[in-house]
Symmetry: C2
Subunit: 201 residues, 2 copies
């Protein structure tokens, strides 16, 4: 009996699904929207076309599941070690950095491809808007918990919104060229602003 044959059916199925989703995200991020078809994703994942279509009968189903996976990964990234944040102003800088990290990297680049495609595809837009809303709430809740752990600052909610919009804009600026030096400066500037704003209340 081979190792593969010993794997319970549901484990193999789960692994195949994960492989397809990871491949879809990679292809979206590196090759763009047009390349992210079920056939091409299956090929790059080393999965048969039949097995891929069993998991994702349509391109829309694959893309939607991949976006869900990206958001889950991004949320997990932002939630990391919320208890380990340093105290004082340093804490604010780390929280801002973490918010910005959500929007930098292959997951955001892949999501941007879906976003751009959805701008001119109403059916896709209807599918992804609830996912986007759920993700936005999670990102907001985590950044708020980081910036205002006691929940006592009346302006924290609005400042978190601005922080996430800034982070999204920095993410977009970083998709075409390496923008990391400039980004670090902007993060520093905004962390100083937040520090003053939260102290001012």
């Amino acid at each position: 009996m081979t190792a593969s044959a010993r794997e319970p059916q549901q484990d193999r199925s789960r692994i195949t699904r994960e492989r397809l989703l990871a491949s879809a995200v990679d292809i979206l991020a590196d090759q763009g929207w047009a390349a992210a078809t079920v056939a091409h994703v299956a090929e790059e994942a080393g999965v048969s076309r039949g097995a891929a279509q069993h998991h994702f009968p349509t391109r829309e189903a694959l893309i939607t599941a991949a976006l869900e996976q990206m958001f889950t990964d991004l949320t997990a990234l932002a939630a990391e070690d919320l208890d380990d944040l340093p105290p004082g102003p340093e804490r604010i800088r780390v929280v801002v950095e973490r918010a910005v990290d959500i929007y930098v990297g292959p997951n955001f680049r892949a999501a941007l491809q879906v976003w751009a495609a959805a701008a001119s595809d109403e059916a896709l837009r209807e599918r992804i808007l609830p996912l986007e809303a759920k993700f936005a709430r999670a990102a907001h809740a985590m950044t708020l918990a980081g910036l205002d752990p006691e929940g006592t600052d009346p302006n924290a909610h609005r400042l978190v919104q601005a922080t996430l919009d800034l982070a999204r804009g920095l993410g977009l600026a970083g998709t075409l060229s390496d923008d990391s030096r400039r980004r670090a400066q902007v993060v520093g500037t905004w962390a100083d602003q937040l520090t003053a704003a939260l102290r001012r209340d």
Copy 2:
């Protein structure tokens, strides 16, 4: 002699070019990247395919010229009435609104399509990066002139960078659904921050 035949040759050529560029921007914004081919743009502009190809021999030439046109229009929008800005804190809010306006609307939606395509197309990326850089410098200079007209605030330069990143993030958030109410709140929050920051120096 018809009105059209009386038009000097160069005027007709200029008008055809403008019509093609306007059509390219509309198609990018409403139908997305894949739809923006020379043939489809010519058809929607009511221009013969031969005339379109005379102006833009390749899709790349058309897209690059359209992006240049978008940036010129956006820069003109942001430069409007720089002398008519109100005094005091109200001035800061108007400048932030204007910066955000650059990134909201069909021109930005069209540019986003080019941006997303360029993320996985190195040749396109090399073509548009110099345009992006030129546009970013123009947007920065105008926002700086609005926020710090005397050029005396040492932090204004960095705050303008953050403001334009925020504006880009708000623009992206507004591409999939009407985000105008939330956007107005964030603009207010940001303007308050800038007012406090510029006063603090």
